[in-house]
Amino acid sequence: MQLTINGEERRVAEVDTVAALLDHLRVSHQAVAVMVNGAIVARERYAEYPVKERDVLEIVRFVGGG
C-alpha cells in the first residue's frame, strides 16, 4: 500500500492498524508518538487505529534538545 510517512512517499506491505505499521517498519511502540492525517493517536489505540491507502502519517520520538 502507498503511504506518506514523515514526509516521504513509501510503498509498504498491506497493514490495517498503526500497531501493525510500526511493527512492519520495525519501530518500537515505546516512546513514539503517531499522527494519522493530522490526528494524534493515543498509544492505547495503536492496535485498533486504522491505517488506509494514501494516509499521511507522522511518527516521532524524543531526541536530544535544550
Binding site: I5, N6, G7, E8, R10, L25, R26, V27, S28, Q30, A31, V32, A33, V34, M35, I40, V41, A42, R43, E58, I59, V60, R61, F62, V63, G64, G65, G66
Partner: protein, 261 residues
Amino acid sequence: MEPSQEVLKVGKYQFTSRLFVGTGKYASWEEMRDAIEASGTELVTVALRRVNLNNPAEPSLLDFIPKQVRILPNTAGCHTADEALQVAELARASGIGDLVKLEVIGDDPLLWPDPVDTLKATERLAAAGFTVMVYTSPDPVLAMHLEKAGAAAVMPLGSPIGSGRGVLDTEAVLRIKERVSVPVVVDAGIGGPADAALAMEIGADAVLINTAIAKAKHPVAMARAMRLAVEAGRLGFLAGRMAPQPAASPSSPVEGMVAGR
C-alpha cells in the same frame, strides 16, 4: 535554610535540584548520561523529531536518562502557537506526562521568543491541562501576562540560546521575579559557572543549561561545576548579600596597632 532542604514547586511537580539541563549537542549519549548524573538534575529537556525510518532500531535517548529524572519535552523549532500545540500534544500522547517547555520562536538568528504566539500558546496549553514552562524574552509585563495565562514557570533568556554570554541584564530578571509568583527560571545564555551562580544569587528560582555543559571541553566536570554554582548562588541568595558600600571599611580592628618606628 540549606538549598538541599528546599523544595521548588513547578505546578504539581517538586524539585530539590534547581539546575535543569538540556540533552542536546553531546558527543555521545554515554557522555550525556554521565553529565546528567554529575549535574544532580531532576529535570531534563528533550525535543521531538521524526523517527529515522532508515534506522528505526537506533537506541532511544530515553534509555540514557536516569529513571529518577523527569522529562520536559520542548517545542523547539516551532514558530506559531498552532505548531507548538501540536508538538506538545504529540509529546503527551507518547506517554511522557504533561510537562512542556513552550518555545515559540519569532526571529531565527536570535532564536528570540515570539511574545504574541507564546502568550496564545500558553493559554491554550494551560487550558488543555499541560504544566507549561514558558521560554520568554526578559519582559516583566509579558511575564505577568504569561502567569495570568496559566504558565507554571516563566523562563526568561539570560542571553540568546547557545551564545554562552551569561545573564546580560540581571535587572530584567529581578523585575520579573518581583512581579510573578510562579518560579522564574533563567533559560538560555548561561556560559560558565559564574553566570549560573549570578542568576541564582540575584534570586532566580532555577536555571536551565544545555550548551554550556554539552560544549565544555569536559562536559561531565562542567556539569558538576554548574551544580556547585547553582547551589552556591542559591545559598548566597538565601544568606542575604551585604549591601555594596561606596568606601572601604577595614575588616581588622583599627585600634591596638603596634607602635610605629
